[in-house]
Amino acid sequence: MLSGEPMERQEFRAPEINGVAPAPKAKKPEKAKPVPDPLVKVEDLSLFYGTKQALQDINMNIPRRQVTAFIGPSGCGKSTLLRCFNRLNDLIDDCRIEGEISINGKSIFNSDVDITDLRKRVGMVFQKSNPFPKSIYENVAYGARIAGIKKKSVLDDIVEKNLKRAALWDEVNDRLNDSAMGLSGGQQQRLCIARAIAVEPDVLLMDEPCSALDPIATAKIEDLVTELKNKFTIVIVTHNMQQAARVSDYTAFMYIGDIVEFDTTEKIFLNPAKKHTEDYVSGKFG
């Protein structure tokens, strides 16, 4: 796909709001690539920041209990797409979404969807670690407290279990009541992972979780991702190709608001169908 093409479409589509769905469908017949046991389905998803289109007719399936990576150059819309899955873009005033995302066959944009409920099922880990200015214990227990759990013994169990899952327990079990702000960057990020999985979501979104970390901390988190995929469906954004190759089962290559190619990671890195993808993964641009 040429880089100029989406631009052109953007200009063409932007002023029109509804009723344009058939045209691109005709123009772009290839539907999402089928995957075994899909959990999340994205259909004809477009997203606008004001008049600026950030995502264009995305179609994809995300397989259950696998790691799916989004790669692509900065500003291509990886984070934007990721934040659609838990509707975090709703917070942005002039953001408008068209199309459909369904999880387990149920649309997430339906008016009867409780957004807090959705976010409990779709957890998220951010690029910059963002522990709450509270104790380590309270950080992990936050989701449970929101859900109304008050019993100390239950909370204790949740905290211990998830800190262990996030491979942080051994490092912090003697200072659970210290401020989370005192942890190192890598520990903070693992704490955020523990906090997110403590809610027992179906899907775990990770937006460049290692971009601010040193190699050792990065390796720890990568191990963790591989560990966690037995339990969660993971979608991870990264601009580090080696990382995508190491941790993911499926990879989507995005470019200017579009998915250029989506396939198994093996295929994307060893035998991509498109020249553009090959150029990117081999480091010719990006």
Binding site: L88, N130, Y142, S184, V199
Partner: protein, 538 residues
Amino acid sequence: MPNLWKAGDAYIWISGLALMVTLVMIGGLLFLIATKGLGSMWPADIGRYELRDGSAYLGQLRARESVRGGDGVSGSEFRVKLKIGNRDIYGLDFKWINEGDVKSRDYPRDAVVLERHEWGDYHGYLKEIRKNGQVIPGTDPEAFSVLLGLIRDANRIHERILKIEKGEIGDINYGIEKQRLKLKGLAVRGEHNPAKEAEYRLKIKEYEGRYKTSEAKLEALYAELNRNEAVMLSAGGNEKTIPLGKIVMAHRPNSMGFVEKAGFYVKRFWGFVSDDPREANTEGGIFPAIFGTVLMVLIMSIVVMPFGIVAALYLREYARQGVMVRIVRICVNNLAGVPSIVFGVFGVGFFLYGIGGIIDSVFFKEALPSPTFGTGGILWASLTLALLTVPVVIVATEEGLAAVPRNIREGSLALGATKFETTWKVVIPSALPAILTGLILAVARATGEVAPLMITGVVKLAPDLPIDGHFPFLHLERKFMHLGFHIYDLGFQSPNAEAAKPMVFMTAFLLILIVVVLNITAIVIRNRLRKKYATSAV
């Protein structure tokens, strides 16, 4: 030299110098107030000054200054200010004496200073004590300690009298007033209920009976109080008989060692802090003023915190950021600059006459036309101050909220928290140090404010504290005393300004002390929170 400007060294020096000057000024002010105030309480030696014209005074040296261009007759260069006490004899507590007029000066060890309930201090010698009709001459070596013992007894009786007056008789007055209001309430409502009426009247009778017994008790105590007397001789040889019940404390500064003086000082200081004022506030303590100031600031804080925080939360978190919000913000900022007396006038119009009037006409109909809430009181004064300081809290809170990083909020929302839960559990705790900074500023401003209080509830002398043993214990409608107003009253409204001067300094000192203590408390809490919620990552 131009290098110096370029390198920026000169700017550093200038700002350093400016800081120095400011610090020296603040330090100097505190030093002046502390020395003048604290120093005046020290039991200074008392000198006997014999003048050339044959008169003599017992006085404590308070000031010494040169007389330039003097009358030229005395030929002296300096004059001294003595505190001579004995206002009932001399008319004034202080006297300026030219040093040239002094024939001799010594410090007699048996010079006595009596602190009295009336007429200020007495300086003189103990001639004799009349105890139970028996006479102990002042020359008896044990005479002074006998005097001290008797004064202690008298003070105990005094306490009992006070307890009866404030306790028993206070209860009785309170009860009678209540029954009277019930009676009046019947009349106001046009209810004709002879049974109830009779019941109320009977109760009043009962109270009156109790009053008789209390009164008799009081009379007996007063008689006992004034049974013993001290006969004193002034420096000029005037004899004066003083009932011991009229004496608060006695000491002989010239025969006291340093340790003894220090002990006396502590006792006196404690008395100053914990006693009620006497003699139009110029003597005694300032406890009610301290109490009123602190209580008012507390009530103000309790009111201003939720209001300021809620307003700031709305402005920053919920309102649509636009022209309207910007205008509101500008208004809030300007509100902080409105002269406080304007707030006072508003408080009078809105709180006293408006809300207070409504409360009176709904809940306190019986007491009308005398107002209950429709007049100045600690609640209205606190609310007026809350209004005055709410912009400070809003601005500080808004800044704190704006500083809470967006990704922390998103982190909370992404866990399925609602916006309210996020605000309550994450945003406010993170902004708490900033909010407390706002409270510190508000408290500092409120404690020092006087003008709006003078018209919304502060009085020169309040008969009762706003908290006492009568239900509902906290009486928000009562008038109260305030340190700031006390300073004004002592220094500028007192009939005896010279005598009140040390009190002015002491009161100012305590006011500053209270501001500092309140601030330090808030700062300690804030630092605790900062440590707990340290926001610096990694």
